[in-house]
Symmetry: D2
Subunit: 342 residues, 4 copies
Amino acid sequence: MYSFMNDYSEGAHPRILNALLETNLEQTQGYGEDIYCQKAAELIRQRIGRTDLAIHFLSGGTQTNLTALSAFLRPYEAAIAADTGHILVHETGAIEATGHKVISIPGSDGKINPQRIQVALEIHKDEHMVKPKLVYISNPTEIGTIYHKSELEELSRFCNKNNLYLYIDGARLGSALCSPENDLSLADLGVLADAFYIGGTKNGALLGEALVISNDALKEDFRFHLKQKGAMLAKGRVLGIQFLELFKDDLYFDLAKHANTMADRLQNAFCNQGFQLLTHSATNQIFPILPDSLIGKMQKKYSFSVWSKIDQTHSVVRFVTSWATPEEAVINFIEDLKNLTK
Amino acid sequence: MYSFMNDYSEGAHPRILNALLETNLEQTQGYGEDIYCQKAAELIRQRIGRTDLAIHFLSGGTQTNLTALSAFLRPYEAAIAADTGHILVHETGAIEATGHKVISIPGSDGKINPQRIQVALEIHKDEHMVKPKLVYISNPTEIGTIYHKSELEELSRFCNKNNLYLYIDGARLGSALCSPENDLSLADLGVLADAFYIGGTKNGALLGEALVISNDALKEDFRFHLKQKGAMLAKGRVLGIQFLELFKDDLYFDLAKHANTMADRLQNAFCNQGFQLLTHSATNQIFPILPDSLIGKMQKKYSFSVWSKIDQTHSVVRFVTSWATPEEAVINFIEDLKNLTK
Amino acid sequence: MYSFMNDYSEGAHPRILNALLETNLEQTQGYGEDIYCQKAAELIRQRIGRTDLAIHFLSGGTQTNLTALSAFLRPYEAAIAADTGHILVHETGAIEATGHKVISIPGSDGKINPQRIQVALEIHKDEHMVKPKLVYISNPTEIGTIYHKSELEELSRFCNKNNLYLYIDGARLGSALCSPENDLSLADLGVLADAFYIGGTKNGALLGEALVISNDALKEDFRFHLKQKGAMLAKGRVLGIQFLELFKDDLYFDLAKHANTMADRLQNAFCNQGFQLLTHSATNQIFPILPDSLIGKMQKKYSFSVWSKIDQTHSVVRFVTSWATPEEAVINFIEDLKNLTK
Amino acid sequence: MYSFMNDYSEGAHPRILNALLETNLEQTQGYGEDIYCQKAAELIRQRIGRTDLAIHFLSGGTQTNLTALSAFLRPYEAAIAADTGHILVHETGAIEATGHKVISIPGSDGKINPQRIQVALEIHKDEHMVKPKLVYISNPTEIGTIYHKSELEELSRFCNKNNLYLYIDGARLGSALCSPENDLSLADLGVLADAFYIGGTKNGALLGEALVISNDALKEDFRFHLKQKGAMLAKGRVLGIQFLELFKDDLYFDLAKHANTMADRLQNAFCNQGFQLLTHSATNQIFPILPDSLIGKMQKKYSFSVWSKIDQTHSVVRFVTSWATPEEAVINFIEDLKNLTK
């Protein structure tokens, strides 16, 4: 049984484990103030091309989102997110648990735009309603689509003009940036977003996300928030060492590329067999629409998510690839698919 | 420069890293529902001798405390802790950030007893005050002392009688249980406490704490709390694999014993040189009182914490040992100490 | 200029002020433990026909909703409300500020039904999402419609079956219960809802809402919640005296009837002049659709809310009547309306 | 049975009820935006002698404290209060429920000073601890003592220098300002504090506190906080009308003077009979130390609080007077006291 269930089914890329091994007995400062966290942050700043970024390493995406948003917002301020947004749907009310409403607006292919945000702003007009203050987007989105540079620029301009923060959830940011359709760079994100995070957990790390804050107003005392929310690891080096390894050369991007390539092959295979897609994906999650009978047969050899029912006899399924997906597994799967759909 | 600053200066015990390596490419379920978390939980249940324990793996102590206490308490209920208690002093208001007051009562050597709790209960008598509902203790305490079985039994009886939960912060639980002065077992904790956690981060793991809930009323829906507080790792296996390694034989206890032995040697050395102690420690943190001039000289070769001023010319310092402290470092230090105090 | 803006433009019904005057110098217990609160609660229990109800007096609707819902829900549990629900739209995130998500479902005429709730339940299926636990409805709804007995029975059965609490926001409950189309009684609410509140502020009181809790599981220690949320007035008698006056005979219902009758006359007048309604209202808020030109003319003599644009030249307006609306004001308005639309 | 239990045993001063009556049928804006709130705020600004003050009317002390402090503090920031402080002891963790720790420091006669605050600041030195940001004092204190101008100036200078807000809980502010020993004016408070509130509930109003914010940084969007915390009354005029009446001449101060005079007579009577005081009070709460046998006899005719045990046979009791305390009741009591202690 091979699993295409998600991109966190395995451990870490061998180079990362090796880095942990090699540094294992060195003594360092605790709580993220070690030399590895400093070096990793420095490398990320260089990649983004700004020396003034505050960078913090956290252990997971929900933790990063809740720590950042609760730090950035005053009590009556709210975040705006697409109806498919991770903070709206899949974080068990983590943002609300810190006291903040998340306003849902309709997304298109998981993405939002200024027009839709404008509608929300117009509704929220006085002190009887929360005050929208932060726009949350995911890149790639929860359904595998990506923001193009022009879209992000437009969002960023709109947010600036309307005194909104723009925050990007980058749980799978590597996959977005390495998509063949992508025209955004880390440097762009450093300019266009007030804060964003570079996901490690889903791109080869054991665990870890790198939160990048470029808006000066959001940097102050951030380590207090980290500690208060339980997000400051005693052995913070564990995160620093991993991100150092990911960014000391192009490992972070190479891993994402591999995942994308594997997903692309799967997606093509489904298309070649004549299946429709929920949406065309250029990242490491794909969403073909399959007959339920075929799904049942495939489940004997493969794990994957059944995403939603389409009609009486068809469902959308989700296949996810990762740095760890062997080319062979993809080849075998495609072979099996062909046989099953003969 | 050798550091006795804390017990999280190094990485993980080699066997733990090795376990991560060996299992690295296996595919498992995410979010702590993998086979390693299940096996590790099973081993811990066996050690404690109860099959009905809920066991969850979290990534750090503050996270464990805030997730557990906010899950266990209703909005107006409060925790009681010694004035030196970690949740009162060193967690940046993490418990209050979830809405709960922590009531401070005076400790003796970092420990609390029914008499002192009783005073707090008598003060909090109506709805104009919070309702004390949970007693928080650390074992060992923040100053290295431990609870004896009779003390914990007395506390447990008192809590039962007064409808209070007893919660034990076991960030350094291994050190307490392996102290030569200890008469408590994991099995005792499973009976005497409503919940406690077994600290991994400070006893050989890269990161990780195992929360053990024995009171049925506190078990329900706990995974929702984990997720909401950002405490559920996508690769939850990282925690399970480590605890499995720690508990599949006596590694957890062996590591703690080593740390204790190293601390004991240091403590004896200080005593032999005629120095007083803040309190006699039987665990891996020791608190000698030293002349400031000597401290200055020692700091040229060693890192350690200066805990507090005692008088114009003396301070309490804290030395912490761990599984990773080489015997040689201790021998060298004792030699240096003798030379410096000649 | 006469205002149909809302039902809290004036002070209190004269009998209520008189009751405050007559009791003014009596000495009573503070914090809602006085004889007037006790008597008022007793009268309300008699009206509902149950002796086991917990009744608390609070000073406003948002305060009542936030105190009740945060008391009733565990941290990861959420409320479900119609997309027009007051807690979703017009309470500045008060519920979220206590840590709880409010799930929006589409309403029909401001009302929700089991089918729509069922959809929400099916989506929220594991610990990565909040757990729906309480259904919030308003009766009358925010757009003046009311729940019929069969609808409420169906909702109540559904909630019981699905382990959900049913909570009714009764900010204008008098108007609902006195609607000519109503077939619900206070006694029905006492059976069908787990908790509801009887609004005083919008039906003749200076301020005050009576929260009625019938589900035993929700009663415990409720006064702690009141105090913690700032909802316990030192001179709690101010609320008790008012509700005593409202319920010692039929004053509460007589006031609501008057408001409804006045609204009905206005609504009929609009219909007689050929205007459409956003929805037919049987309570004290009406929503005619008018040409913007007419609205402009009416605003020279009358205040009222412009609710929303319908098309280029028409808008929905809201007229609200109350116990204090003089028949003469209504007659004059209708006369003016006729003249303006000649 | 006459009650000296507290200063909220009766209703409102007759002039206040009369003002409510006289304005009763006027139509006004809701939610505190009416002409009465505006006029009352204007009068208070004039009394304080500053035109730039933000003034909001709330319904009770706990509500005012929790709304203000949660608005003023960022999530990791804490308030500092005397160990007898109302927010620490008697508000059911209302401040903690908004996420903030309250740091307790020892008071002297219920008061705190820069030296004691300095100690707290020195302990809280990094991100593992909350960051002290606001100093909370009550004037008069919870045990009837008052701050002198020099003390408040010293506190204010210290707070400015240390980047701390100074907040004054004025639940009984009238009594403090009208104490024969007082040398502070409302104008002084407007300069020395960042925010304070003028208590109405305990000085003749039915309910109501006037929050005065002088620090510009704390004013922004405050009405959002009011609404979110359930502190914005629909008929906000109820509060405005009362404060207008209290401040349109010297009523507020006259009522407080009467209360103080009555308390002073009682205190003198106790002293004349040879009884000790817990502390000398110059306000409307007095704390004589009495034999338990005498207390028992007095309780047959009078209600008052037994504050705490002093020794086997003596207790501190609390007598509170108010605007409503008839001179005759005081004369009678003194007569009874003399007879009982003959």
